[in-house]
Symmetry: C2
Subunit: 240 residues, 2 copies
């Protein structure tokens, strides 16, 4: 499985993904699940993927092919699309088409599928974040629900429900997604290090921070330990 989360905030957006892929418990590998389509200063689009690796890799490859094609048009290339909504529609259509293509090769019982978070901003437009379903339809993050999750989302949801608001700072947002991931890593083996963290400031149309957090990362471990400590302290101080 996978855990990916994206926060859409007043100051910008923060995205985090794990990298563990498995075909059965005895076939575990590391694959990047965060992809960027960038024209720095004009637009930045980040895609997080969960689900069948054959579906997500083929979808990303087709999106790149469409960008590089000499016949690229605003209807096919996410770097030419006129709005973020149009970007989400292109990606949704490609994802659904790839899924249909692969399903034809598989029996119905095995049907492969994937979900994606697509987030970004182009010059002249607002910053937007979408969750794209396997069928290609999508929902959007809003002020009321400023975060989207895909994959193993349940373990890490309580912390987000409690601390994330549109006014949350980008620094607190990074803390929140890392602690949300930390809870997931502790409780579910199918989600694993290293992690990819991306921060994009509003109206900059480029990646501000891109960080790969390896298994032995000292600062992540310190944060995880501090959080465990804070939880235990808080727990011991509560009376029933």
């Amino acid at each position: 499985m996978t855990y990916c989360v994206g926060l859409l905030l007043n100051e910008g957006m923060v995205l985090l993904s794990d990298t563990r892929t498995n075909a059965g418990l005895d076939n575990i590998a590391t694959y990047r699940k965060m992809f960027h389509f960038e024209n720095p200063g004009e637009r930045i689009i980040t895609v997080l993927t969960a689900g069948s690796l054959s579906v997500t890799q083929t979808t990303i490859a087709r999106l790149r092919d469409a960008i590089d094609s000499p016949d690229a048009t605003p209807q096919t290339s996410v770097l030419l699309a006129p709005t973020m909504l149009a970007v989400a529609e292109i990606i949704g259509d490609v994802l659904a088409q790839v899924r249909r293509d692969i399903d034809e090769k598989l029996s119905m019982a095995q049907g492969a599928s994937a979900t994606m978070i697509v987030a970004g901003q182009r010059k002249g437009g607002g910053m937007r974040m979408f969750l794209i379903y396997p069928e290609g339809n999508f929902i959007e993050a809003t002020e009321d629900t400023p975060f989207l999750q895909i994959g193993e989302h349940k373990y890490g949801k309580p912390i987000l429900d409690r601390v994330v608001k549109p006014t949350t700072s980008l620094s607190d947002a990074q803390k929140a997604v890392l602690l949300s991931m930390d809870s997931t890593l502790r409780s579910n083996l199918s989600v694993g290090m290293p992690l990819d963290l991306c921060v994009v400031n509003r109206d900059e149309f480029r990646i501000d921070t891109l960080r790969r957090i390896e298994a032995g990362d000292e600062s992540f471990r310190a944060m995880s330990d501090a959080w465990s400590h804070a939880l235990r302290d808080g727990f011991s101080q509560i009376s029933i």
Copy 2:
């Protein structure tokens, strides 16, 4: 859905269940999911249920019928069974049989099923806790994993993973299961108040505390608020 959790500790056991049952989002009702079979001073057995209400109610009813039957034997009555292992086997067999009976009436696509936590102690034996699967087989809580969960278990697992050990006191254990439930209630609509909390001291073979926590319960709300406060405090003190 449902969330039920049981902790098996050196001092005794603590069990907690919600009461929300739904047949679709527009058909929500309150049903007890915690049941006791008690011969005070000789044995106490508590059962927590998750899954199809038709399966769980029929299973509990058949277990009661078997106890009350004039033909009750150690092979059929959980109050006569020689060990807690035998109790788990009786309940697993009845659960699997009920499921088969109901499945015959339903199309395969709709198959009804249920899982249960069975916990207790009889005089002369140890305190034991089992998770019974829909097929009637089961696993047991151990020193390494002193808690079992059924239903919507993911939201409330991180806090248990962090604080529950066999040496945890019964007071802390109540706090842990209530906070685990609190996280679940906040993040998942299909789990709802009121709650049923049960505490059994080791080697007493009777219920020590049985408490129904209603939606407006002041002490539960105070604990929930204190926990939110502690989480936010802890969060704000961590640096990344």
